[in-house]
């Protein structure tokens, strides 16, 4: 019997102006050849036995609904519970930063009232990580905290989109936007008792334009918000560079195994044949999704479903999203090629290590 219900806020943008994210919600961003970012949040919850998940939708929800459907691929097509597609407030979509906008939660209060499980697990969609949510709930119960948040020490500077906590002896004393090296980053996973969440929503009704954790910032004396450290691989995806790195990191088999195998990451099933490597294909250090056909050379790259790399074409240190066709002799290096682009024969597309070239969705 699941102890918790899940809530995924899939309706916010990032502060990044990179057009990688333009026109699609971060939650439905293709990732690692065959996933969408939301798969991690959904799978993490389902792997913990959660069978009621609410998803607050962005205004441009087409791609996301197309992907999650009835929730069947995550075992969320249930008679009781299952996947709840819920509206966000219009305000929520234009705002960056706030990820658990109180107004969004209040508008969907019904979801927290109707489902009677003891806890609510909150999550966003743009952290790539394989989290043992069951253990997270257990640690939350053990500590007796009001709210538990999943955190990790930042390994780099300057991510303005993530939230960081000021933590003393495991207890959160303050929070701010943006992360510097060594600070404690909020991974956007939190556990709270359902009854308490409902109380908070009532208490914060007057400041419903704030993020839940922004509102809690001045109440940290009253509520014990405890940080739980996450030891595994995680990557926040908020801009082009973090998106690129989060793909390339997976060319390390250890990282791939941890992220994709420690607990299953479920995604929408497709009827693609296996990838086909034609005579003479040269592929090394690459991730290749099913349905692809390779005649040319691919090195240090991530290929999505049904990508075609024709004869004499070469792809190096790049991400090709699903349906991309690289015509004969074309050369691609240090680039992200978005869905369904056809790169004409003989074309050269090159970015640099420091400035990855992006070709937008066709």
């Amino acid at each position: 019997m699941p102890k918790a219900i899940g809530l995924i806020t899939a309706n916010y943008t990032t502060a990044s102006k990179d057009d990688v994210f333009s026109g699609r919600p971060v939650a439905s961003m293709p990732y690692l050849g065959r996933y969408r970012l939301v798969d991690f949040a959904l799978s993490n919850m389902v792997n913990a036995g959660i069978r009621s998940v609410g998803m607050i939708m962005p205004t441009n929800y087409r791609s996301l609904v197309d992907h999650v459907g009835s929730g069947k691929d995550w075992d969320l097509d249930r008679k009781n519970g299952g996947l709840f597609i819920m509206p966000g407030t219009a305000f929520g979509t234009s705002r960056t930063g706030a990820r658990f906008l109180i107004r969004d939660l209040v508008q969907n209060k019904e979801f927290f009232i109707k489902n009677k499980e003891k806890y609510v697990v909150l999550s966003t969609a743009n952290f790539v990580c394989n989290v043992d949510v069951k253990a997270l709930i257990a640690k939350h119960e053990e500590s007796g905290a009001s709210i538990s948040v999943l955190t990790k020490k930042a390994k780099c500077d300057g991510n303005i989109d993530v939230v960081t906590f000021d933590v003393e002896d495991g207890r959160v004393k303050g929070m701010k936007q943006g992360a510097k090296f060594g600070e404690t980053v909020f991974l956007d996973y939190a556990v709270v008792e359902r009854e308490l969440l409902l109380e908070l929503l009532d208490a914060f009704a007057a400041i419903d334009h704030l993020d839940l954790f922004e509102a809690l910032n001045s109440e940290l004396g009253r509520f014990r918000v405890m940080a739980i450290d996450f030891e595994g691989y995680m990557k926040p995806i908020f801009d082009k560079d973090s998106y690129f790195t989060a793909n390339m990191d997976l060319l390390d088999p250890d990282v791939l195994t941890e992220l994709a195998d420690s607990r299953p990451v479920k995604t929408k099933a497709h009827d693609n044949p296996p990838a086909k490597y034609e005579p003479g294909a040269k592929v090394s250090n690459a991730l290749v999704a099913s349905g692809s056909r390779i005649y040319g050379a691919v090195q240090s790259s991530v290929l999505g479903r049904s990508v075609i790399v024709e004869e004499g074409a070469s792809v190096r240190h790049s991400i090709l999203m699903q349906g991309v066709v690289v015509k004969a002799g074309a050369q691609i290096e240090n680039a992200i090629i978005d869905k369904n682009n056809v790169i004409p024969a003989g074309t050269e597309l090159r970015g640099t290590d420091g400035d990855i070239l992006y070709v937008k969705k066709n």
Binding site: P274, Y277, G280, V283, S284, A286, S290
Partner: protein
């Protein structure tokens, strides 16, 4: 009605634990996917699957039929194993007997036409076109046939027909064939006639309850309208290890005999969602199919590699078929082999040879170095 109860004993260890229709094929599929996809692509939404031999994996794989869009409230996939009645129960004793024992299912569905299929053949066919031929001929029974090389005709059930395609004579494995049109074991019956004929056949103590051996000769003798439907595209009955190996290899190359990538009639499968395949920095893959979830650190050449296969550093896999979860450890060599699910060739070991018959390794079996 899809006959999927056969053991496929000539596939040896490959069917020691699973029924032949559930045997892995083409890197991502199980053999039954091809016929189920044909049904779905032909607009057939009610399919009874008759199972008998080692059915667990097959039943689990079929599930609700959802993977082939066959999860329908009325109809859809029905799994039909042998069952007991007030007068006892019996195994399916022949292709016709299997259908006879499920006349109750046929009466419940009450179709106008009944298509009889085998769950162990590889081909793409639009059954709707075959049904149109059946209707146009005002036939009682239509048998799908395909031309086979004359020298091989004596291995098949051969149909001798007139110019209109009406069957005059059916001969099982003729010594001196008069025609090279072989039955593919795919039949469309007008439902009422099939049910009536099966009931009569069940009463006949001399019948072996087989479509080819008993039902067709009886209908011919009764002067019924039996017609052929000529099929000329790719068709394989993967009965032996050699033909199974060959059929997999026919998926490879720039212009494969059977194109898995053809867009118009996709082959659907009940596949798991796994990450993309990882080809390591020193790995190489040439002229092969590789499904998701694989880790290829060694060399793969002219092979069919299913999901979650591991090929270690400096290992070589050539002219082989690896089923889901198979492992070829570091430095091992696998040539001209079929490795069943989760089987393993240990580090430094060798399995198979280029100039010998294709070797097979059963589910979960291990080949150690020096064996």
């Amino acid at each position: 009605m899809l006959l999927a109860g056969g053991q496929g004993s000539r596939l040896g260890v490959l069917t020691s634990k699973v029924a032949k229709p559930a045997v892995s094929f083409g890197g991502k599929y199980r053999i039954i996917d091809f016929v189920l996809s044909n049904c779905a692509n032909s607009g057939i939404s009610t399919v009874g699957v008759l199972t008998q031999y080692r059915p667990y994996l097959l039943h689990a794989y079929l599930g609700t039929g959802e993977a082939w869009n066959l999860d329908e409230r009325d109809g859809g996939v029905a799994i039909l194993p042998p069952y007991a009645t007030q007068t006892g129960g019996a195994w399916y004793a022949g292709t016709a007997d299997a259908i006879t024992q499920n006349i109750g299912y046929l009466e419940m569905q009450d179709p106008e036409y009944i298509l009889i299929l085998s769950g162990d053949q590889l081909y793409r066919m639009d059954y709707e076109d075959m049904l149109a031929t059946h209707k146009a001929n005002n036939a009682d029974l239509t048998v799908a046939v395909m031309p086979v090389p004359w020298e091989e005709a004596s291995r098949f059930g051969i149909m001798n027909c007139d110019d209109e395609g009406r069957i005059l004579e059916f001969v099982e494995k003729p010594k001196e064939p008069k025609s090279n049109l072989a039955s593919m074991g795919i039949y469309i019956f007008t439902a009422d006639l099939l049910i009536k004929t099966l009931k009569e056949d069940a009463e006949d103590p001399n019948s072996s309850h087989d479509f080819g051996g008993d039902i067709i000769p009886k209908l011919l003798a009764d002067g019924k309208r039996l017609y052929t439907y000529q099929f000329k595209a790719y068709w394989r009955d993967v009965g032996t290890v050699a033909s199974f190996h060959e059929a997999n290899m026919e998926l490879l190359g720039a212009e494969p005999a059977f194109d898995l990538f053809a867009q118009d009639a996709p082959i659907m499968s009940n596949s798991s969602t796994r990450p993309p395949a990882f080809i390591g920095p020193k790995g190489s893959v040439d002229d092969s199919l590789v499904d998701n979830g694989c880790t290829i650190l060694g060399q793969v050449e002219h092979s069919v590699i299913s999901a979650d296969v591991y090929v270690g550093k400096n290992a070589v896999v050539k002219d082989s078929i690896l089923f889901p979860g198979a492992r070829v450890e570091e430095g091992a060599v696998v040539i001209n082999a079929i490795m069943a699910e989760r089987s393993c060739v240990a580090a430094g070991a060798t399995f198979g040879a280029a100039d010998e018959d294709t070797v097979t390794l059963g589910d979960d079996a291990i080949v150690e170095k020096g064996e």
